[in-house]
């Protein structure tokens, strides 16, 4: 007789032993190797950086209410938007979903007790926090005025700001990305529980797998280009300096070879999150699961081949422009397929409107707008007319902020009961989700319009004809900021006064829900085993009955 054949009754005291009770001192958090605690460390630190970057852009939007400025000098203005870009891209968006939800949920989702290299995981947080804090210090003590793109020869020879300091911090943070990527790849390859075959992986796990590859392959190129900029600036090594035979376009090629895939580092995890949320709240299997997997892989691969579309006016040959334009249209196909599949997932579902679902729908809407405006920019003539204008600014914010942050919020709300064991206030969460979607559109639709009319980006002073759009946009930013602050309040409130969530409040099928909330130190009380595909939310034999949540069949159970 083995334990596995007995009905599983965990010992009473094990319920008390959640990962949160595994030590209550600050040191127990700073020295932890538990992927769940590291995820919390990441969540707290990216939140801090998000609001610093947000304050920077808040000042920029305030300044832009008047075409002649209100309270900043041009140098201060340039430093603020650089600070916003560097912090938001590298210290918030890139680590956002992978480092928090990836860290917390991925091992649980595949039935693993932790990631493959728990100490490397802790080290990557220290690299992240060290590098990011150093860069933020540099940005506050004098600042950097190159924009987040660091284009030479401005950054290497003409800028009078601490470019090397900022680059050094970003360089270090890059290693945190690489370490996280390696860790996830090893985890998914080695630690899937019995029965968890590749095509039983939930789509969030697939998205982490693809994004890890992109992080591991692309980030070193960023490190190289930042190192070369610093070498040129500090030692006068002529890499990009044309007067010494260097090529400034080489930097742009290297930089975008990282930074375009970086966009996919931000959006692929978002796609993974909303796939989970749509399936759960529509009570349906994700439509076209295999197509979803292949389309993520296609995006990951072709995403490496489209960097030249950032350089249509940079001095690239016309042939190169055509090739990159073509590939950019091709990479849009799998993204469109995913939008159709999420929509198809709703078909014949039992759709609920809980907060995670509203956030996910916000993602769907904004991702569609962002993706379609991407087609505009993939067309060379329109890109020539609109590049370096607010049209581009609005486009990439719609994808990277509208899309990714909506998905981030969807994921946080979806997994919050699992992470904390508490339920948040549903009304305020729904209200914040709707406010976020509306606020985002009020902020960025005017930017699309003024960009097409000819308003260039990174402008401190601007022709007064664009003022009405800037004022609208700044007004939208106030709504958006409110929507970003609200979760801070009601989620914190739920930690103290929220109802107990129970193990599986959404009646979801994923393995991470088949264990107590909050989970024990080793995630599962007994090793799980998987015997069905993911998202088995409905049973066709009884499907005429509506909304029977008991139909959802867990993907696995303790053995």
């Amino acid at each position: 007789m083995t334990d596995a054949t007995l009905p599983f009754v965990p010992p009473l005291d094990s319920y008390g032993e959640s990962y949160l009770d595994d030590g209550h001192t600050v040191m127990s958090w700073l020295t932890t190797t538990d992927h769940k605690r590291i995820a919390i460390l990441y969540a707290l630190s990216i939140t801090v950086f998000f609001f610093i970057g947000g304050i920077a852009i808040g000042m920029v939007r305030l300044e832009l209410i008047s075409p002649t400025g209100l309270f900043l000098t041009s140098d201060e203005y340039n430093r603020l938007f650089t600070m916003h870009g560097i912090i938001m891209v590298w210290f918030f968006l890139v680590p956002s979903i992978p480092a928090t939800m990836g860290n917390f949920i991925l091992p649980m989702m595949i039935g693993a007790p932790d990631v493959a290299f728990p100490r490397l995981n802790l080290m990557s947080w220290y690299l992240y926090v060290g590098g990011a804090a150093f860069t933020v210090y540099v940005l506050f003590s004098g600042g950097v005025d190159t924009g987040w793109t660091f284009y030479p020869p401005f950054s290497s020879q003409y800028s009078h700001s601490d470019v090397i300091g900022a680059a050094a911090g970003v360089f270090v943070v890059g290693f945190s990305s690489i370490a996280t990527g390696i860790n996830f790849l090893a985890t998914i390859h080695m630690l899937r529980c019995p029965g968890m075959t590749w095509f039983r992986l939930p789509l969030f796990a697939w998205s982490m797998y693809v994004v890890s590859f992109v992080m591991v392959l692309a980030t070193p190129v960023l490190a190289m280009s930042l190192l070369l900029i610093s070498a040129e600036r500090y030692f006068g090594l002529p890499i990009f300096d044309p007067s010494a035979g260097g090529d400034p376009l080489l930097f742009q090629h290297l930089f975008w070879f990282y930074s375009h895939p970086a966009v996919y580092i931000m959006i692929l995890p978002a796609m993974g999150v909303v796939s989970e949320v749509f399936a759960c709240f529509a009570r349906r299997r994700v439509f076209g699961y295999a197509f979803m997997v292949y389309s993520m892989m296609t995006i990951g691969v072709i995403g490496f081949m489209v960097w030249g579309h950032h350089m249509f006016v940079a001095g690239q040959s016309q042939l190169a422009n055509l090739v990159f334009s073509f590939l950019s249209f091709i990479v849009a196909v799998p993204s469109a397929i995913k939008v159709f599949n999420w929509t198809g997932t709703l078909y014949r579902g039992h759709i609920g409107f809980e907060a995670p679902m509203i956030y996910a729908l916000g993602f769907l809407g904004l991702f569609t707008i962002g993706g379609l405006t991407g087609l505009f920019l993939a067309s060379v003539p329109i890109d020539i007319a609109t590049t370096d204008s607010y049209f581009v600014v609005a486009h990439f914010h719609t994808i990277m902020v509208g899309g990714s942050v909506s998905a981030f919020m969807a994921g946080i709300h979806y997994w919050w009961p699992k992470i904390t064991g508490k339920l948040y206030n549903e009304f305020w969460a729904q209200f914040a989700a709707i406010t976020m979607f509306l606020g985002f559109n009020v902020t960025f639709l005017p930017q699309f319009i003024m960009g097409w009319l000819g308003m260039p980006r990174r402008y401190h002073y601007y022709p007064a004809v664009f003022q009405v759009w800037h004022v609208l946009s700044s007004g939208g930013a106030v709504i958006l900021a409110t929507a970003y602050l609200m979760p801070l309040v009601y989620l914190t409130w739920s930690l103290f006064y929220g109802e107990k969530a129970g193990d599986n409040p959404w009646h979801a099928t994923g393995l991470e829900w088949q264990t107590p909330s909050p989970p024990p130190r080793t995630n599962f009380l007994r090793p799980p085993r998987v015997d069905v595909d993911p998202y088995d939310y409905h049973d066709f034999g009884r499907s005429a009955e509506t909304g029977d949540e008991a139909q959802a069949r867990p993907q696995g159970e303790p053995t």
Binding site: F291, P381, P456
Partner: protein, 328 residues
């Protein structure tokens, strides 16, 4: 300032760009309507607790749907790509006999030099109904000359030439500005473009104080800098004769071949060691630091005039025998 300084379609190309924009707006509108329509319908039918029956969706059917919308999307995107590429190809290569205006960008101003020798700062006069080619270079960082009414934009790099060309068909006053972030005063590195009739342009150039046109300024420099000591047909020094060189394919000592365009001629003056023509000794001095950007422009204009035959000082036969057009 009026918004029409930005939005007027001042050339045929601008009209094509706008048409493409409208096409894409319509396609996007249709896709948004399809997706949001489907979502609204599904919500209305399948909200939790609704009485609508939910049946099984056959596996084969869902596969056909997947393949169907993948192929449909692919073909509509390819169609848009084809349309966009054909608009891009309109701007393919500038006409050979375009009026050439030199642009020098620096933090934070624009300088324009007309073939007549006229110069202007932060203002640009161009004739309508004329092919105009801007040959642009920067003295410091990367800039970008953005001409909104022509829907054109091109980065301007230091130590290198980039080009922009157009044929405006509307006269008027338009805005131009810098579109590549270039430092403190990036946002005020702007100016006014006057598109005037060819007659007005001729009157305007005639009224400018400059006596010599660019090629003549270049000819004077050619002598004063000592170039003529070697690069004249009768010289005893073994240096290439520059007549007819512009636009020709030259074979370099390093084994490469290059077209003798502005960029090449510029390199010859500034980095002669790496651009030496096969069969000539490495005796050309390096002029980096001793000539200014504006002087290089004039020198190149002179060397070009030796090929195109505008030069009255040393008239040459067979001016248009060069096998290649300028690589733009």
């Amino acid at each position: 300032m009026n918004i029409s300084q930005f939005t007027t379609e001042a050339s045929k190309y601008a009209v094509h760009v706008d048409d493409l924009f409208y096409l894409l707006s319509i396609v996007s509108g249709i896709i948004v309507l399809l997706v949001s329509g489907a979502i609204v319908v599904f919500f209305a039918l399948y909200y939790r607790g609704s009485p609508t029956p939910r049946g099984l969706l056959p596996e084969r059917k869902s596969r056909e749907i997947e393949i169907g919308w993948t192929v449909a999307t692919l073909f509509s995107f390819l169609f848009i790509f084809w349309w966009a590429a054909s608009v891009e190809l309109l701007q393919d290569s500038p006409p050979k006999d375009a009026l050439e205006i030199h642009v020098v960008a620096k933090q934070w101003m624009w300088r324009f030099q007309h073939p007549s020798g006229a110069r202007e700062i932060d203002e640009l006069h161009v004739p309508a109904f004329t092919d105009i080619r801007l040959a642009m270079t920067s003295q410091d960082v990367i800039h970008d000359l953005y001409l909104p009414a022509l829907r054109l934009k091109q980065d301007i790099l230091p130590d290198r030439y980039t080009y922009e060309w157009f044929n405006a068909d509307k006269t008027g006053v338009f805005h131009f500005t810098c579109a590549e972030f270039c430092g403190t005063d990036h946002s005020v590195m702007a100016g006014t473009m006057y598109i005037v009739t060819p007659q007005e342009y001729a009157r305007w150039t005639a009224a400018q104080p400059e006596a010599d046109d660019l090629a003549h300024q270049g000819a004077a420099l050619f002598h004063s800098l000592g170039c003529s000591g070697c690069h004249t047909p009768g010289s005893t020094v073994h240096a290439p004769d520059l007549h007819g060189v512009y636009g020709r394919v030259v074979h370099l000592a390093g084994g490469q071949t290059r077209t003798a365009d502005e960029a090449y001629l510029r390199d010859c003056i500034l980095v002669p060691d790496s651009t030496r023509v096969e069969g000539y000794p490495p005796i050309m001095p390096n002029f980096t630091g001793s000539v200014q950007e504006g002087q290089i422009v004039a020198l190149i204009a002179y060397i070009k005039s030796l090929t195109t035959g505008q030069d009255r000082e040393t008239p040459t036969a067979s001016p248009k025998s060069s096998p290649q057009s300028s690589g733009g």
